[in-house]
Symmetry: C2
Subunit: 245 residues, 2 copies
Amino acid sequence: MEVITSTDNKKIKNLCKLKEKKYRDEENLFLVETKHLIEEANKCGLLLEVIILDGEDLDIDVLKTYVSLNVMKKLSFISNSKYIGVVKKYEPYNYNKRLLLLDNIQDPGNLGTIIRSASAFNIDTVVLGDNCVDLYNDKVIRASEGMLFQVDCMRKNLSRFIDELKVNNYLIIGTNVVNGINVSEFKYPDKFAIIIGNEGKGISDEIKTKIDKNIYIPMNKKTESLNASVAASIIMYEMSKMDYE
Amino acid sequence: MEVITSTDNKKIKNLCKLKEKKYRDEENLFLVETKHLIEEANKCGLLLEVIILDGEDLDIDVLKTYVSLNVMKKLSFISNSKYIGVVKKYEPYNYNKRLLLLDNIQDPGNLGTIIRSASAFNIDTVVLGDNCVDLYNDKVIRASEGMLFQVDCMRKNLSRFIDELKVNNYLIIGTNVVNGINVSEFKYPDKFAIIIGNEGKGISDEIKTKIDKNIYIPMNKKTESLNASVAASIIMYEMSKMDYE
């Protein structure tokens, strides 16, 4: 068994490049760490290869490459990593009826958490505006707890995509405290898209003009707003109640 | 006006120590950054001093110390900081009727987000178990968006504190999918404490034995769990509905 021990190895250098969005976009590949995430990627048929720390092993039927500790440290984002998966990007072509649209979500932890909640609360497709943080950022992947592989995600120009949705009779739902409907009283139609805005600025002005209805989360006056992933999760939680009625 | 330009200045060295929990505990002081957080601390009468970048100013009636850019960079956690507030810790002596108990919450972002939601959803007191991340960690403060100054927070040995609550007729509410009550159907009594467990391990075994009732959040079977701050926020959100009925 060959073990790669040099960080100057060409293959390792190429894999390292995947830490940057530019190369992930070029190669259509990304890296995941932890056994759990590697297994989730494998279940979806997207795992191409695993990089394994010398002395460890993984019971998985895929190309395996063994590396020394210094090489693993070079590749890894987290401490004490034993395995790194090389995963193919997947973007579905079609979307379904229940959409969550993200307008300029910048915090990777928020994006990952929103995807995790979207999976829990029966959203079909999460649509990232092209101003959002990269879906394949390592922090997004970790915060999603592997649910990235359970929910369809796509990246779109939101403004044009909303126009397409309107033609197809989707209700466009915004979040706003003014003139909104209490989120617990809102009646969802068959096809809809809920828009979540940027952490600091909310939904951008251009997108706001395309909203059909606004919903709000009732809260104490002393608090101006909720964390974006919390607000998104409460909205999805309330929406999913119709599945249990 | 004197401007401190040396990072070896004794005062600056002492302030820098407040970046570590040990010294925050010893001095009963902590640092906050951004104008918004400094103003929130001031409203509560807890602001002792502001450190201001040379060339900037802040319209606030408190001791001001001006520093050069290199000194500000040394003190600051974030980039482009212009102001740092030196703030007195405050721990209330009494707690009220609606408590949120945190058992081993480790992620600073989660703790700050939970505090922000606790303020939004009418929790009286957030009680950190002594195994939680430090309340005065800079990331906790930033994630709380200043709501740290709006909600009473205290640190306790949770196990002993729950025993005290039980004597005082508080209902102890856990979160668990087995044998629980749907969070949207739960009837809250006058006095209660909701327990939120660790991000990975949930509520610790010792604390579990003290729970009176469990509640759960209905979700899709393909998702094992929610982010801890999301779960806590949904529970508090549902609880706060009784204030609007």
